[in-house]
């Protein structure tokens, strides 16, 4: 960010008088605003698409009253959420009750910082990218647990407890399933991971096709991440039909809106991580986006990245409207008896593969056969 600020100062001479840290700070605010706008737009449109997909899959039509074909439904929803009364239950723990939505929203929004949108489009290319995402999304658990506890409502509390046990359990397979990508790239930085999947192999350069273990790893990650973000086959913390709405029953108005936004934010983060770690990120097949002029390279790679990420989001919605909810014991059984051992086996397999074949994947070996 400081380098960007320096180049900006160099490009615009009148800024030379301003202290560098001011320019850097301003740039940071601008970038944060841009990402926030993107996140909010995604979350709004995502909610509409979710309902449309649900309609299609359930042989219904979905929202179609607000605006042409219902496109403006999310605007109406947003306005409604903002205008509704913000109710705090009489016996709630007021401080924690007010705090909880921010934890959840910040936890999901902060992960956007390291999402590699394009060749040079990343808010902060942290060298601990994946680790940072895992750490910062854990804030969501804290927020959900706080929400469940402070509402002074048994359903909310049950939802909060379920969320805590579920997210903590599924964080292990999520992390373990992501490590193969880290091993192949030799870096925790998401940009490095994406770059490691480029090259002339096209889509066969992607980590999914690197070797059989990474292929399974992708599906394991996707399953576990679905659970970590409380998506429907694993939406026990919300469980409309049994816990009314789980940890957020007592929330209304803008505070509920924050929970709602965080849910869709998490969805995008999962899709973005899957894209970056397994599906080649912003790499355009058979093409070096980095060699293009800055603007076009970034736009092209941004488009490719978003297309892949949105496709993943659609798959998540598809899963969401297909599978019924698991029971609590089934959920825990799935995490500890299936996903955790399988991801460990996978990790071992990938490590051995990299050791034996000196880091080469199957497509790479086939390519080297033909010179």
């Amino acid at each position: 960010m400081e380098a960007l600020a320096l180049s900006l100062v160099n490009a615009v001479p009148p800024l030379a008088g301003v202290p560098l840290w001011t320019v850097t700070l301003l740039l940071m605010v601008v970038v944060a605003a841009v990402i926030l706008v993107f996140a909010l737009t995604f979350e709004g449109v995502g909610s509409l698409v979710l309902r449309k997909v649900a309609g299609d899959i359930q042989a219904r039509i979905g929202p179609n009253r607000v605006g042409p074909n219902g496109i403006l439904q999310f605007v109406a929803d947003g306005v409604k959420l903002v205008l509704k009364e913000d109710i705090i239950p009489a016996n709630a723990d007021r401080l924690l009750f007010k705090l909880a939505p921010y934890f959840v929203f910040v936890g999901s929004f902060a992960a956007f910082v390291v999402v590699p949108f394009g060749v040079g489009l990343i808010a902060a290319d942290l060298n601990i990218g994946i680790y940072y995402v895992m750490a910062v999304t854990s804030l969501v658990v804290v927020g959900i647990l706080l929400a469940g506890w402070s509402s002074n409502n048994k359903w909310a509390l049950l939802g909060g407890m379920r969320a805590a046990s579920q997210i903590v359990s599924y964080e292990i397979p999520v992390g373990m399933a992501l490590i193969p990508a880290v091993l192949i790239a030799g870096s925790l930085s998401l940009q490095d991971i994406v770059r490691s999947q480029g090259g002339l192999l096209g889509i066969f350069g992607w980590n999914v096709f690197h070797n059989p273990f990474t292929f399974f790893s992708f599906f394991l990650y996707f399953t576990a991440a679905q659970a970590e973000t409380n998506q429907t086959p694993f939406d026990l913390p919300e469980a409309e039909s049994e816990l009314v709405s789980g940890y957020n029953v007592e929330y209304s108005g803008i505070r509920f809106g924050l929970f709602f936004l965080a849910e869709f934010g998490d969805m995008f983060i999962v899709a973005a991580l899957a894209t970056a770690c397994f599906l080649g990120g912003w790499n355009v097949p058979f093409f070096h986006a980095a060699t293009l002029p800055w603007i076009w390279g970034n736009l092209l790679s941004l488009g490719v990245f978003l297309a892949k990420a949105f496709a993943m989001v659609l798959v998540m919605m598809w899963v969401r409207w297909t599978l019924p909810r698991l029971r609590v014991d089934q959920l825990m059984r799935m995490a500890w008896k299936f996903l955790v051992p399988l991801t460990f086996v996978n990790l071992l397999g990938v490590s051995l593969w990299l050791l034996v074949f000196r880091g080469k994947g199957i497509p790479g070996m086939i390519a080297s056969l033909f010179g």
């Binding site: 997909v53 309609g55 299609d56 899959i57 359930q58 042989a59 219904r60 039509i61 598809w318 899963v319 409207w321 297909t322 599978l323 008896k337 299936f338 399988l342």
Partner: protein, 219 residues
């Protein structure tokens, strides 16, 4: 749980998930599968024997009270008086459609088929009183008063006729007709009393009896 069962579980989970996702994908892609009816604009076709709101054709209704008696939830209420031509006259016919359970018994029992189910099913109101369907717009008390007036007029006419008969009888003085004349005058008096009493529970009968009595006398 052996290793085989463990692996079987995994395979089954993957296979069944894939199967389910294939089905939902088919529904998701095919737009023709939509079953939604955009209600206010589109409606189901109403079946032939659909039991919707009740409608009573008050012109054919004979106020026989059968529907009131048969209704299991007592949602029909009816008031009637006997009119000048001896037929029952409806004063009010109300159906509390909010209470009706659409069993159709009243329609089945109606002897003149004046009570029928329509195809209507749309009604909403903020007040339960609005759910009561009134089939007679005129006020019941007004109808009663009018019928009573008619009955009284008829009774008066009958009394006049009776008087005239008596007078002619007195002039002619035929011995055998004495008894019948006496009878007719008694009947006319009774009818008059009744009409004056209540606007006529039984005015038609009185009116009908009196004219009959008069010609009898004349003979």
């Amino acid at each position: 749980m052996g290793l085989k069962a463990y692996l079987n579980d995994i395979v089954e989970a993957v296979v069944t998930t894939a199967k389910g996702m294939r089905i939902t994908a088919r529904y998701g892609v095919d737009p023709k599968e939509e079953v939604t009816l955009q209600y206010p604009e589109e409606r189901w076709e109403i079946p032939k024997d659909y039991r919707g709101f009740l409608h009573n054709d008050i012109k054919t209704c004979t106020a026989c009270n059968m529907c009131v008696k048969t209704c299991p939830v007592d949602c029909i209420s009816l008031e009637s008086v006997r009119g000048a031509d001896k037929k029952m006259v409806l004063c009010s016919y109300d159906i509390n459609i909010g209470r009706c359970m659409y069993c159709g018994l009243c329609v089945e029992v109606c002897p003149v088929n004046s009570l029928k189910h329509t195809s209507g099913y749309e009604m909403a109101s903020a007040d339960r009183g609005e759910m009561i369907l009134h089939f007679i717009a005129e006020d019941a008390a007004e109808i009663k008063a009018r019928v009573a007036r008619q009955v009284a007029e008829a009774a008066a006419k009958a009394a006049e006729a009776a008087k005239a008969a008596e007078a002619s009888k007195a002039a002619e003085v035929p011995k055998p007709a004495d008894l019948s004349a006496d009878l007719s005058s008694v009947a006319a008096k009774a009818a008059k009393e009744e009409a004056a009493k209540a606007g006529g529970d039984d005015p038609k009968a009185a009116k009908a009896e009196a004219p009959k009595a008069a010609p009898e006398k004349k003979e």
